[in-house]
Amino acid sequence: MSENTATPGRSLGRRRALMLAPLGLAVAGGAGFYAMLRGLGTGSYDPRGVPSALLGKPAPAFALPPLAESGLPALSNTDLADLPAPVLVNFWASWCVPCIVEHPQLMRLSRDGVAVFGVNYKDKAGDAAAFLTRHGNPFRRLGRDEPGRAAIDWGVYGVPETYLLDRKGIIRWRWPGPVTPEVLDQDLRPLLRRHA
């Protein structure tokens, strides 16, 4: 009852603490924003990033026709089980500009002996073949998904998108957007080693 009058020191301390509370909140908010901006800069935080619903699951059932002009074998989900090493499945299109950015990284992986399987998304056969002639072919197998239905079964929402499957064919990693040299060195290479 008479707590306030009996202990004026404590009440004063409390009042001072209350006055500092907004400052504390502002500092906490500032620290949060700083962490967010740093994450945006380094790429560890992506507000538009969406986790794949397929992580930890095998590839969905699909069977795609080959791109005849490329001479590469076709791709279906039966090619993605019981593998000797982890593989990549890359969704791409000749009309997709970031795909050109990521292509050298796919070529490098392919030279290093990593199995890269391609899905050509909503593309014209002639354009796709010309793209591979011009930029090189990193794919062991290539399926044509002209209607884009297989891509939807994979949860693809834009090309390029790259999936890493372990030796059992379980999807372990999905990268929406181009595999840049940084993504290759910092994310993909360690994952390939871990699942080797």
Partner: protein, 157 residues
């Protein structure tokens, strides 16, 4: 003035009708209007993954058109609303749902309004009690009572 308002009315109605028409081309629609209506209401609950803040019914994106077609296919095939939604949820995860489900990860999201409301009420109650307390507190000491009695005596006299 009033006539002008009346003239503007069709225009305003046109504006209202705009978003309702959406981007659905007649060729995309299902022949059965009841099924089309269902497909549309399902589509309004599904996020266009490309534009992220539009539903697939509102978006012009290619992927949204593909997903609209899939929703209509499933509806025409006789799937229930929840079967259609889970078909896409299986592929695109929680993010495809414009209304996120209540899970451990979204508990803070759904709980935030209640926490904020509860916190506000608590703050109001605490502040009110403190304001009332000092008034109710401090009963007169014996000395004060004696002085008051003396004053009253003086006034009575």
């Amino acid at each position: 003035m009033r006539r002008h308002a009346l003239l503007a009315l069709p225009l305003m109605l046109g504006l209202l009708a705009g978003p309702a028409l959406g981007v659905g081309l007649p060729s995309e629609m299902l022949p059965d209007p009841a099924q089309e209506q269902r497909a549309r209401s399902i589509g309004h609950e599904l996020r266009c993954m490309v534009c992220q803040n539009q539903s697939i019914e509102e978006s012009e994106a290619d992927l949204a058109r593909d997903l609209r077609r899939i929703v209509r296919e499933r509806v025409a095939a006789g799937d229930s609303d929840s079967q259609v939604v889970s078909y896409l949820h299986d592929r695109y995860g929680d993010f495809v749902l414009l209304r996120p489900p209540f899970t451990f990860a979204t508990a803070a999201l759904w709980g935030a309004p209640f926490i904020a409301l509860g916190g506000g009420l608590l703050a109001i109650l605490l502040l009110r009690r403190r304001r009332i307390d000092p008034v109710a507190a401090a009963p007169l000491s014996a000395e004060e009572q004696a002085r008051l009695a003396a004053l009253e005596d003086g006034a009575a006299r």
